[in-house]
């Protein structure tokens, strides 16, 4: 049986969620491995969200926000970018491959780009295999 990765995608309301919506309404195919969580701004994303996603069984995590300069709240996406870089470093130290976490800017009109990203991410994580946090958790009774 082929391994079906679970990917959690945090999408910001104003740009990337709308972009994903566009992909949907345009009937662009993207894998149902992607589980979308809508947040108002990518600046809302902190390490806790990412870590919880992995802990609860995600094999990969995607974060999408508005392009630099376009953030509905001006600077939120920059905060997200800074946190993303630090979280990347942290998860690598914790034995989680950095390719399991990805940040990309997707605008409201970029439905095609979203679909491509979703496909890419799914295949990338499929290749990496399951993220074994769940198994590790089991040693903690």
């Amino acid at each position: 049986m082929k391994f079906e990765p679970k990917i959690v995608a945090f999408l910001c309301n104003w740009c990337s969620y709308t972009g994903a919506d566009l992909a949907g309404t345009s009937r662009m195919k993207y894998p149902d491995n992607i589980n979308i969580i809508r947040i108002m701004c990518s600046g809302r994303i902190g390490p806790t969200f990412v870590l919880k996603a992995f802990r609860e069984g995600a094999d990969g995590v995607m974060i999408c926000g508005c392009h630099p300069g376009d953030c509905h709240y001006h600077e939120g996406n920059y905060k997200c970018l800074r946190r993303y870089k630090l979280i990347q470093k942290y998860i690598q130290q914790m034995g989680i491959d950095s390719k399991r976490l990805h940040l990309e800017w997707i605008s409201a009109s970029e439905g095609k780009q979203f679909a491509e990203l979703a496909n890419q991410m799914t295949e990338q994580v499929r290749e990496l295999g399951p993220c074994s946090i769940r198994e590790t958790m089991e040693t903690f009774v």
Partner: protein
């Protein structure tokens, strides 16, 4: 000694994977010792009393009024004693960083038994071990069989093993805080709900710290402590040195900062932090003074050990709990 007018509190102090510093913190009541002894009978304390495990097993359940359990759960003996003392104790307190959050032994969750054994018993540069011996949980010697506790892969906090009534943080807890809590119990004051952190403030270190802070916290580069000449006066973060103060409960008297060293977070996070290091990471990232991806990368590069910095005392209690290593390796 003073006349007993009411039954004395039966107090136990026990250590798991510990260093003894928490026991020292109890001793550091100094001359107040005589007051402590007037109010409490110590019924089990291996560093001080010759009471053995068998004696604890013989105690009726709930016999001990308060047990201060310090040290993390690293091996089967620690785990066994956690369960035993839970049974024999009315109020079980996770005393100190190790039992509260995992503490420094919790850094063992970056590795596992096999790696540790390899390093200590084989790779160590001063060790000569041609027989490739390693400690065994059961080993036959000519005279009989010897036993050792099992060394687990993972370090756990006390509340990951048994129900804990209160957490008293610190590495070790400030003795004045211990006395506060002890007096509250002895005088029959109303105690907070079970599961609470006691002996520490709700607010962070920054509230107590006397270093000068401005409203502007922006960092163009993070520095290792030896890369700056600390002026002894300005907030460490504003000098570019990571200080865990903002994400750490106060109550210790900001003793490390008094020694001109940044806080490392031993008192643990304030309430409602689902992960002890995540909020700090978030805050640190926020104060990075750049919107340029390349520049941000360079600045983040200056944080050389995020996991060991933001989770110095709290790795086992973090969301990820441990580094992912293949758990399916042969047992000894």
């Amino acid at each position: 000694m003073t006349e007993e007018s009411k039954p004395k509190l039966k107090l136990a102090v026990y250590w798991g994977a510990a260093c003894g510093g928490c026991c020292v913190s109890v001793l550091d009541v100094h001359e107040k010792l005589f007051d402590v002894v007037a109010a409490a009978d110590l019924v089990f304390w291996p560093i001080a009393l010759d009471i053995k495990y068998k004696d604890v097993e013989d105690m009726p359940d709930g016999h001990i009024d308060v047990t201060l359990f310090n040290g993390a759960v690293r091996n089967s003996e620690n785990e066994h004693m956690a369960h035993l003392l839970r049974k024999k104790t009315k109020i079980l307190v996770a005393y100190g960083s190790c039992s509260h959050l995992g503490g420094i032994p919790g850094l063992g969750n970056f590795t596992n038994r096999q790696e540790i054994f390899n390093r200590v018993y084989h790779e160590s540069e001063s060790t000569v071990n041609e027989e490739k011996a390693v400690p065994q949980t059961k080993f036959q010697v000519p005279e009989g069989e010897l036993e050792l506790p099992e060394f687990y892969n993972d370090v756990r906090t006390l509340d990951q093993v048994v129900n804990v009534d209160y957490f008293l943080p610190g590495c070790p807890p400030n003795t004045d805080r211990l006395v506060d809590v002890f007096m509250a119990i002895v005088t029959g004051a109303e105690l907070p709900p079970p599961g609470s952190v006691v002996g520490a403030w709700d607010k962070s270190q920054c509230d107590d710290c006397t270093r000068k802070k401005t409203d502007q916290k922006v960092v163009k580069a993070f520095k290792r402590p030896w890369e700056i000449v600390d002026d002894g006066v300005t907030c460490f973060l504003e000098q570019g040195v990571i200080c865990m103060g903002p994400a750490t409960r106060g109550g210790c008297g900001f003793r490390c900062i008094e020694g001109n060293a940044p806080c490392k977070g031993c008192y643990g996070p304030p309430a409602d932090a689902p992960d002890p290091g995540a909020k700090m990471m978030s805050a640190i990232a926020t104060i990075i003074d750049s919107n340029d991806e390349k520049e941000i990368e360079e600045i983040v590069d200056g944080i050389v050990d995020p996991a060991g910095t933001f989770y110095r005392f709290s790795l086992p209690s973090s969301i990820l709990r441990r580094k992912l290593i293949d758990v399916n390796e042969p047992t000894n």
